[in-house]
């Protein structure tokens, strides 16, 4: 008994598992960044006064803020921070899942056309049915459903096209993603020009941003991202098995096709939910899982949960930069691209031998 325990310890130290320490660091990072997001903002509403308000809410003390100022904190900043966290978790978790399913470190919902597909479908809804307000029919309204279908369509096309190139592997898949993204984006642009009244709305949306948001959006995204997160975390061990390839995974009793379908559906659902509230925000799904891999190990049992948390922190921080770096507001997608594109180039370089 004692022998078994000590042996278990020794081997356990060689397995890549989510340690309480890593989890604690990730959670503390998210909370710290979220607090910054709550404290920092324009005007009279300085960080120390917001902090006093938070303390007052927690202890039941007297707040230094006026009612209007308190509303800014609780009705604008907090839901915005939470929405950023949900969008970030969705995109980074989906990125990690795509990389596992395609056994490809550069796979990402955006690069493989999920973003463009969701964008095209969402634009079509806004343009052709402007009467349908974003979430008018609740979480299963036309916008998120169209975005979901569009995301699956984009990924499906990229995958099919990539496979048809036959053995081109990483490069083939990514080039297929480029072609599909370009095509779906062209359709989206065409559709958005059809209705000049919604042009600005669609245009702003394609640059990505969280600037028109309240608690409703948060409540409506939670079920999608929550469901996807649960599925992805539960499937993490199976993603590790998929890294062995289909034949070996099958010889270990798995059905690789079925696992792919479940994981891709969950990841596309998360992406679609994110896209439908925040527009197009690229590179989160590449940057975050890669940093997690470098820092915490190569098992998806670590990569998936830490990517969910890391993505939340990353997008909260990016949104903070987007709304504070200049007097107006910088589109969030621009900030993530500034950070993500150079990082992507770095990843490309370090994966040179796999691509050639």
């Amino acid at each position: 008994m004692l022998r078994t325990r000590s042996r278990w310890r020794r081997t356990a130290s060689h397995t890549t598992r989510l340690t309480p320490l890593a989890l604690a660091v990730a959670v503390i990072t998210v909370v710290a960044v979220a607090l910054l997001g709550l404290l920092i903002g324009p005007g009279e509403l300085t960080g120390d006064r917001v902090l006093a308000e938070i303390a007052a809410q927690l202890t039941g003390g007297v707040s230094p803020l006026s009612e209007a100022e308190a509303a800014v904190v609780w009705q604008l900043r907090l839901p915005r921070v939470l929405l950023a966290a949900l969008v970030g978790a969705a995109l980074a978790g989906a990125g990690a899942a795509f990389q596992g399913v395609f056994r490809n470190p550069l796979a990402d919902p955006y690069l493989l056309g999920a973003g463009a597909g969701a964008g095209m479908a969402a634009t079509a809804v806004v343009v052709f049915a402007p009467a349908v307000t974003a979430w008018s029919l609740g979480p299963v309204g036309p916008l998120p459903l169209a975005a979901f279908a569009g995301a699956l369509l984009g990924v499906g096309l990229s995958w099919a096209l990539g496979r048809s190139t036959g053995g081109a592997g990483t490069a083939g898949l990514l080039l297929a993603g480029v072609a599909v993204t370009a095509f779906l984006t062209a359709i989206q642009t065409f559709v958005q020009q059809l209705n000049t009244q919604t042009l600005k709305q669609v245009y702003t949306w394609t640059l990505g941003g969280l600037n028109i948001t309240g608690w409703t959006d948060v409540g409506l995204v939670v079920p999608y991202v929550g469901l996807a997160a649960i599925v992805l975390v539960a499937a993490a061990r199976l993603l590790d098995l998929l890294t062995l390839g289909d034949a070996e995974a099958a010889s270990l009793g798995l059905r690789p096709g079925r696992i792919r379908l479940v994981v891709l559906s969950a990841a596309s659902l998360a992406t679609a939910a994110a896209v439908s509230v925040s527009g197009l925000i690229g590179f989160v799904g590449i940057v975050v899982p890669h940093l997690v891999r470098l820092l915490a190990g190569a098992s998806y049992r670590v990569i998936v949960p830490l990517s969910l948390l890391g993505g939340a922190a990353f997008v909260i921080a990016a949104d903070l930069v987007a709304r504070t770096i200049m007097p107006g507001e910088l589109p969030l997608g621009v900030v993530t691209a500034f950070a993500g594109a150079p990082f992507f180039a770095l990843v490309l370089r370090t994966n040179r031998e796999r691509l050639s």
């Binding site: 042996r7 397995t15 590790d240």
Partner: protein, 267 residues
């Protein structure tokens, strides 16, 4: 169905397998006796790997594959994975996984879809690592292993499946003569200690003759000879099926040695 007294751990009856209209192997029948070593040999493209894949149900096939008297067609995939361990010729070795992470994946057939490995699973892995002298390498990443170490890690991954039958496709690929010998000796030791039935493809006929109790010679997708190595490996047969000029010598211990002979004509 019961084993009805036969000592056959694996039997194939009239098995054809492969993708597409033209099967890679056709009408293959063979038997592997329990706790013995069967080597499938044959020229390139004879269908050796496909026979192993047909047993592991990794390729579409017709005919009957029986494991200890049970038709594999009746077994769910997971149950099959508890009875048959399989390692391909070029296994995927995700370079950043640790040896322990990798070997633990072999416990998958014994876990529910959402389950985690228990301490018992980890202890089985620990055992396999110790038996294959991998415990010093337990925390190393696969990408840092030498060829011989990597092949032992693959063997450990298959071993923790705890299957009565092991199918290994060219387990010594890429190994020099010393490392190949070490690996095959270990495999033979595991076979004897655990009573495991081993079926390998091997391209080196002399080595196959040394380790296997029985050889199956395949050519163009069909079985052309079966039996003890000394009976299967004849000069005439190797010329016919390999288009090779060889001498078959015999060691003092009675094991055949296949030596290539350079053709003398035209010189």
């Amino acid at each position: 169905m019961t084993a009805t007294g036969t000592a056959s751990a694996l039997s194939l009856h009239d098995v054809s397998a492969g993708y597409g209209a033209e099967p890679v192997v056709a009408h293959v029948s063979l038997e592997a006796r329990r706790s013995r070593w069967l080597a499938i040999v044959g020229p390139n493209g004879a269908g050796k790997s496909t026979v192993l894949k047909a047993v592991a149900n990794l390729v579409p096939s017709q005919g009957t594959v029986m494991l200890d008297g049970t038709d594999t067609a009746t077994l769910p995939r997971k149950e099959l994975a508890r009875r048959v361990g399989y390692a391909p010729q070029n296994p995927a070795l995700p370079e950043r996984l640790t040896v322990t992470d990798y070997v633990l994946l072999g416990r998958a057939p014994h876990l529910g879809a959402l389950a985690r490995e228990s301490a018992a699973d980890v202890s089985i892995v620990e055992d396999a690592l110790a038996r294959l002298d991998l415990h010093e390498l337990a925390g190393r990443r696969l990408g840092t292993l030498s060829g011989g170490e990597a092949q032992r890690a693959v063997l450990a991954r298959v071993l923790v499946q705890r299957t009565p039958l092991l199918l290994l496709d060219e387990p010594t690929t890429g190994l020099d003569i010393g490392h190949a010998q070490t690996l095959l000796e270990r495999l033979d030791q595991l076979r004897r200690e655990d009573g495991t039935t081993v079926v390998t493809t091997l391209h080196d006929l002399t080595v196959a003759a040394q380790y296997a109790d029985e050889l199956v010679l395949l050519d163009r997708g069909g079985v052309v000879a079966t039996g003890p190595p000394s009976q299967v490996l004849t000069t005439e047969r190797l010329r016919t099926h390999y288009a090779a000029d060889v001498d078959v010598l015999t060691t003092a211990a009675g094991s055949p040695v296949v030596v290539p002979v350079r053709p003398t004509d035209g010189r």
